[in-house]
């Protein structure tokens, strides 16, 4: 009875929070509407002490940027923000897949899922306070090095920022109840209560991210301002700016991929240092599950990224073209190398992992073809279009593009390449899953024919759209054709999973999967993934921020500091690399804490023994 009341109370609390959020949002826009109805909004401040906020953009000079000793404020804030973002992404991701795994455990009634979910959250618990510490550090650095920009943003977002700060109480409460109450809230209704707490934790975390996303997207694509850049009082308009939702979606999905890969590295390391067979089997399974989470989230990510870039173009053509056709264009080649690494590593892991199945030999011969296609797609993916050439090189080449390879540098070729990489990764996964099974249904030959036809037709369609619309029509058709391309990939993924699920219903296992029977190099693929993800996130974070160039808030607040310049790619990559190494060191510390928290020395045991 008590549990039911607790459950009801928590649900009511969650509902109240949701209402509070909704109220805050509508209140902000209602008061802004009132404000807008009072005379026209030009640069004149309101007379007679009205409540309408008057936030003119600051006009900064070099003297407005404080310095501390020999520190470069720009690099300090850059690293602080990036470190905070890496940790925040991690702690937002873990509860998502922990909740899902817990739910799977409840549905299948298999204890191992519940234990796995608990283990994921246990090893990452120290990351929460580190995220908060880094957030606080970031805020201090912003106040110290960019005080005017920070107070300008705070004046606009004050309601949202205050709410953001308050939400951390709820986040901590739900996190600690969810973690510390894991073994207490077991069985029956209690388990449902626990799941609800986890759900609220995720909702709060997502809300926190959405709020923070509003500030940085406002800096890129400001909204809610008039022609002269004065804030009009509608904080919802400022939050709901052009890039807010694309960043929300992209970050939500990317966090899951990133978080999964990090816990996968933990599992890989424990696998390598395992001494007993059950330990190896357990960590092999943990690593596989984490990798599965990471790759599932990786698959739709290019589409979210494409939407984000499309919205950047829609907001400002100049920003869009600078992003991909101008000085930042080469960054996307580096990005291509990173993404290719991710896909190759993920597939390599799956191919190595096929060794767990006794029945895998019959599929081994296909692996080289999968590898060839993936490598080929990767090479296309990373071929540049416009090259920076000296005059002699221009003459030798006969133009700014390579005659043969140049056409592979434009977007349609890249879209084909990425769709192919995604489909072939799904294919690797399907083969991995089949490796251990023998289908028992009567229509399995037809089923295989259907699968082969599905993939062939899908790939042909992707090629048709990419080549015909990409090279024989105009820009409008080129861009538009990427939509059916994406949909084709998604349809093939969904349909193939359904067909395989049906085909292998009641299938006979060749033998139980031999967890633990996987070569060491497969674990290194699990290290490569988070390293590449981390570095890629750092690079993309730099692009997102750097695309503003010499503006703090695009077109509104100009950056007049000594560090307003855009660094070269090499310089940016070096800062990202330093950050990545710092981050990885701190993550190792987090995992070590999670592990050492349960370790006991002989002395501790003997003390306990004698006291008993």
């Amino acid at each position: 009875m008590l549990a039911v009341i607790r459950c009801a109370l928590l649900t009511i609390l969650a509902a109240v929070m949701a209402m509070a959020i909704a109220l805050a949002a509508t209140h902000a826009s209602a008061s802004a509407q009132q404000a807008q109805q009072t005379e026209d909004a030009s640069a004149a401040p309101p007379a007679g002490g009205e409540a309408r906020p008057y936030v003119p953009p600051p006009d900064l000079t070099r003297a407005d940027y404080p310095r501390i000793g020999g520190l470069n404020g720009r690099v300090v804030v850059w690293l602080a923000a990036q470190m905070h973002l890496w940790f925040a992404a991690f702690i937002l991701a873990v509860p998502i897949f922990v909740l899902i795994i817990e739910a799977v455990g409840m549905a299948t009634r298999e204890r191992r899922y519940d234990d796995l979910a608990y283990e994921f959250i246990k090893i990452s618990i120290a990351a929460y306070s580190l995220t908060a510490i880094l957030g606080g550090f970031l805020l201090f650095c912003l106040l110290i090095f960019y005080p005017h920009l920070t107070s300008y943003l705070a004046a606009i977002f004050k309601d949202a920022m205050f709410f953001y700060a308050l939400l951390f109480f709820l986040e901590s409460a739900t996190l600690y109840v969810y973690y510390y109450g894991w073994h207490w809230l077991q069985g029956g209704v209690r388990k449902w209560v626990h799941l609800t707490v986890g759900l609220v934790l995720n909702a709060v975390g997502t809300t926190l991210m959405f709020l923070a996303n509003a500030w940085l997207t406002f800096m890129m694509s400001p909204a809610g301002l008039d022609q002269s850049g004065v804030f009009q009082g509608d904080v919802w308009a400022a939050i709901h700016n052009h890039l807010w939702n694309p960043i929300n979606l992209h970050r939500f999905i990317a966090n899951i991929a990133f978080g999964g890969s990090i816990v996968g590295a933990y599992a890989a390391f424990r696998f390598l240092s395992a001494t007993r067979a059950e330990e190896r089997a357990h960590y092999d399974w943990m690593g596989y599950t984490a990798n599965f989470i990471a790759i599932s989230a990786l698959l739709p990510l290019p589409f979210a990224g494409y939407w984000l870039a499309a919205e950047i173009y829609a907001y400002s053509q100049q920003m869009g073209i600078t992003l991909m056709g101008g000085i930042f264009g080469w960054l996307f080649i580096i990005q291509a190398v990173l993404i290719g690494t991710l896909f190759l590593a993920a597939n390599y892991y799956l191919w190595c992992a096929m060794g767990r199945s006794d029945g895998a030999e019959r599929y081994n011969r296909y692996v080289k073809y999968l590898a060839a296609v993936l490598v080929g797609a990767f090479l296309v993916w990373f071929t540049p279009h416009t090259m920076v050439l000296t005059n002699e090189e221009l003459k030798m080449l006969g133009g700014p593009y390579h005659k043969v390879l140049g056409p592979l540098g434009i977007m349609p070729a890249k879209n084909v390449a990425v769709n192919v990489m995604i489909l072939f990764t799904v294919l690797s996964f399907l083969i991995y899953r089949r490796a251990n099974k023998i289908a028992q249904v009567s229509w399995k030959k037809a089923g295989n024919a259907a699968q082969a036809a599905l993939f062939s037709a899908g790939l042909s369609n992707i090629l048709f759209l990419g080549i015909y619309h990409g090279y024989f029509t105009n820009t409008v058709y080129k861009v538009a054709s990427s939509v059916p391309q994406v949909v084709t990939t998604l349809v093939v993924i969904a349909a193939s999973l359904v067909i395989d699920a049906l085909m292998y219903k009641g299938a006979r296992q060749v033998a139980p999967l031999r967890w633990g029977r996987v070569p060491e190099r497969a674990q290194y693929a699990l290290f490569l993934l988070p390293v590449a993800f981390t570095w890629l996130m750092g690079l993309m974070g730099y692009i997102r921020s750097g695309i503003r160039q010499h503006w703090h808030v695009t077109g509104i607040v100009r950056d007049n500091s000594a560090d307003a310049f855009t660094p070269t790619l090499g310089e940016a990559a070096n800062v990202v690399s330093v950050g990545a190494i710092l981050f990885m060191g701190m993550v190792i510390f987090v995992f070590w804490l999670g592990h050492v928290g349960t370790a006991r020395t002989a002395l501790a045991d003997s003390t306990v023994g004698s006291a008993a």
Binding site: T475, V479, A532, W535, H550
Partner: protein, 271 residues
């Protein structure tokens, strides 16, 4: 323990590879310095100087060449823009309020959707909405003086008469904040030739341009006065077999005085 070292080495090595690729595998472009805000005295300029200012804004602060360039596809070419202005005004699709050609050009800079050239409108709008932002808004924010300079430039480019006046006197809106990239002076004539890409058109300093006269041994046949005039007012003397109007007329604004003298001295010594 060895696992820790191996994994650490692997991770650091991977990060190192990415950093190395970004530093050595990719061309290191140094992005332009953020434009410095300076007031320039546009009053008292001649029409040619005003058009030249417009040209610099066209390629610089206005970032027009980002879309309006020879590659094409993103935006209509502007080399005859001032010439077709009259047709555009008469076009039934014209939705603006300009009364004459100069006003049309002004309007296309501040309200680009007044007339959208066929095929260049935003997708799905039937060429009624332009993807071009207003040049007065946002990060570009050209002042009126600058916009009129760009109009003067476009009119010069199209070969029509320049109808916009540079601002009158010091009391007129002679001040404009414009983004002049101030660069440091170059130290040698070879650097000047490289920086200003003389070799694109001339045979000089190892380059083999053939749009303009061969400058090998030019010092033997032309004196310093001629050479200086050729740089500052290229159309004053045209070498036989070549045409007017090809060499940019604004090197006088772009070169520092010391650089001009260095260049003239270098050419005079080519014998």
């Amino acid at each position: 323990m060895s696992h820790v070292l191996k994994v650490a080495a692997f991770s650091l090595g991977t990060v190192g590879l990415f950093a190395a690729y970004s530093n050595y595998g990719i061309p290191q472009i140094t992005p332009a310095e953020p434009p410095r805000q300076e007031s320039i005295e546009a009053s008292g300029m001649t029409t040619a100087e005003y058009a030249a200012l417009g040209g610099r804004i066209f390629s610089g602060k206005g970032s027009c060449t980002l879309c309006h360039n020879a590659v094409g596809g993103r935006a209509p070419p502007l080399d005859r823009a001032a010439g077709v202005a009259a047709e555009r005004l008469a076009d039934p699709r014209y939705a603006g309020q300009a009364a004459d050609e100069a006003e049309y050009l002004y309007e296309s800079l501040v309200e680009p959707s007044a007339y959208v050239v066929a095929g260049f409108g935003k997708t799905g709008t039937g060429d009624t909405v332009s993807p071009m932002p207003s040049m007065k808004a946002g990060a570009t924010a050209l002042a009126d003086v600058e916009i009129r300079a760009v109009i003067a430039f476009l009119q010069t480019l199209s070969g029509v008469e320049v109808t916009v006046e540079p601002p009158a006197g010091p009391d007129g809106d002679g001040e404009a904040e414009t983004a002049e990239d101030t660069r440091s002076p170059l130290g040698s004539p070879e650097e000047v030739i490289e920086e200003f890409a003389c070799g694109t058109c001339h045979m000089v300093a190892g380059e083999e341009g053939d749009v303009g006269p061969d400058l090998t041994g030019i010092g033997a046949i032309r004196d310093r006065e001629y050479l200086r005039r050729a740089i500052l007012s290229p159309d004053a003397d045209i070498a036989p077999g070549f045409e007017q109007g090809l060499m940019p007329p604004d090197y006088g604004q772009q070169l520092y005085a010391a650089e001009l003298e260095m260049l003239v001295g270098y050419l005079a010594d080519l014998e």
